[in-house]
């Protein structure tokens, strides 16, 4: 607990990381209290042809969309979709990727080798190529987007953990534990895992930002949550036919994606500086 407080204190000393953390806390707050914060919570899924495509005003802060719904309120509810997709997808990727990385890094036999080759297959094309193929085949829905993103993101964790475990295995304290006859599962859980936690945390934060970008791209291409779900990427796609007149339509969702991704990236950079001073600030991203 003390360690956590220490990390937090160091994080807050870095203004960029503090801003990142603030943005993410704000996002979580908005996602939870969307119905209370929204000015027109009832109009998210309704059609109001008379209020169609109104520019920003006191009543509609960010204007209205093609259905006459308040864009501000839709953005708030969209925060829920974004948070759910990103946290579940990255969470599942963690649950798949970290154990596989631990096993392959530790065993270093044919099994470990085979697992790494499998993860290489998923890294052989950019993530979005596979994610598009998967979410298209499964059909547009939030669950399928989550599935597509986690299936394509886990190898990043595997590769990271694998490399860390391999170098850890040569450390004296691990060799000592092996020599003392400590059961392997105990060594992995109590000695290896805590020592690879830092890079995993950093990668998780940056992975959240990256996943939100990919998820919104899927939404933009029409492969995300089906309408009328207030998914940010899809809102931008919808706005295209009303440009340039309804400029506000695309503005708010784009800024929302930008802010949130930036929040996770800034936090990730800050966490890297605090937790993992070995890695340079510009170290491998994604």
């Amino acid at each position: 607990m003390n360690a956590a407080r220490d990390i937090l204190r160091q994080l807050l000393r870095d203004p960029a990381a503090a801003v990142g953390l603030l943005i993410i806390l704000l996002l979580v707050f908005i996602a939870i209290f969307a119905p209370l914060l929204a000015t027109h919570p009832e109009a998210i899924w309704d059609m109001n042809p008379r209020q169609r495509l109104l520019p920003p005003s006191d009543t509609y802060v960010f204007g209205t969309d093609r259905m006459g719904a308040d864009i501000y309120s839709r953005i708030l509810f969209g925060a829920r979709i974004t948070m759910v997709i990103a946290s579940v997808a990255v969470g599942v990727a963690l649950l798949i990727g970290v154990p596989i990385g631990l096993i392959s890094g530790w065993t270093q036999n044919w099994l470990g080798e085979a697992l790494m080759r499998v993860s290489d297959i998923f890294l052989a094309v950019p993530q979005i190529v596979l994610a598009i193929a998967i979410s298209q085949t499964l059909g547009p829905s939030i669950e399928n987007v989550i599935l597509a993103l986690s299936v394509t993101y886990w190898p990043w964790f595997t590769r990271l953990v694998h490399a860390e475990v391999r170098s850890l295995k040569n450390e004296t304290f691990i060799e000592a534990a092996i020599a003392l006859g400590v059961p392997t599962w105990r060594i992995i859980l109590l000695h290896v895992l805590p020592n690879v936690a830092s890079p995993i945390i950093v990668r998780t934060s940056i992975g959240m930002g990256f996943t939100i970008l990919t998820a919104s791209a899927l939404g933009f291409l029409g492969l995300g949550a089906p309408p009328p779900a207030p998914e940010w990427g899809r809102m931008i796609a919808e706005s295209r036919e009303f440009l340039p007149e309804a400029w506000w339509y695309a503005l708010a969702p784009g800024l929302a994606i930008f802010l949130v991704v930036m929040g996770f990236n800034l936090l990730g950079d800050g966490l890297r500086d605090v937790l993992d001073p070995r890695i340079r600030r510009a170290g491998a991203r994604r």
Partner: protein, 335 residues
Amino acid sequence: MRILALILQRIAWLVPTLAGLVAVVFFISRVIPADPVAKLAGETASRAQIELLREKLGLDRPLLVQLVDYYRQLLSGDLGTSLFTTRPVWDDLYARLPATIELTIVAMMIAVVIGIPLGVVSALYRNTIIDHVLRIITVAGLAVASFWLALVLQLYFAMDLGWLPLQARITGFPPPSITGFYIVDTLVEGNFTRFRNVVAHLTLPAFTLAFPALATVVRFTRAGVLETLQKNFVVYQRAMGIPSGLIVWKYVLRNSLISTVTQIGLLFGILLAGTVVIETVFQWPGIGAYAFEAILQSDYAAVMGFTVYAGVVFGIVNLVVDIGHAILDPRGTGA
């Protein structure tokens, strides 16, 4: 010799990896609820007609048999026939390849030519206002959704100011096809009106595509230069009174670029992934837009063809980068 061994080893790994990739996408694309055969046959087709078509396309056989067949087909250089354009996928990809290569190369050039000097400047003026501004730009470059950036740029430069065309690759007739790269072809042809037209069309998509890669280049160059600046030889050169401009642009930059060069594979991945979205937004007649169309139509052969293309291109680029790295910096070769 060691480098040759490395190359052979990497090529040997590339083949099973690509085979695995093909298998993964193959199974994903065949285990679908949507039935492309029914779609292709049309809504009025009877059940028997659909089955006949399925049989004709060979889609009624066991999946494993289809996969083995597909491998055999790939090995003979055949990517199959697109269900929707009814042309060989290879021909479709080949026809669209120049558009994508042209866009990607220009974007890569923008990222490198602008990114490296910015990175050096950012490192030299560390923690000054210049560095902070550049840091904000790079952070933004990695956080902005490319399709949104594309729309904003379209909105401002094409719709509002009218300076640049909204989309497509050219207005009017394309230049006579010599290389397929419009920039080269218009220059060879000597038609400068058409050349300007092509450049204008390229500007927005290439810049949008380049933006995240640019941000990455700036970050890596900055970090590399900062690290090199602390090395002993730099201190020595300073002590020898060598002008600092010469030190930085000649000696420091060369040493710090090794890390940037090794990231070209990563950059290329960013660009390759970007083409799907950017080409769709700008209606750029390249492979990315083709892949997206193919996916929307559940066009097996075309989706597979694109994936194989992406895997091969990505694999080769990474191979070349690894070889380059082994030559530049033989210490890490190991194997």
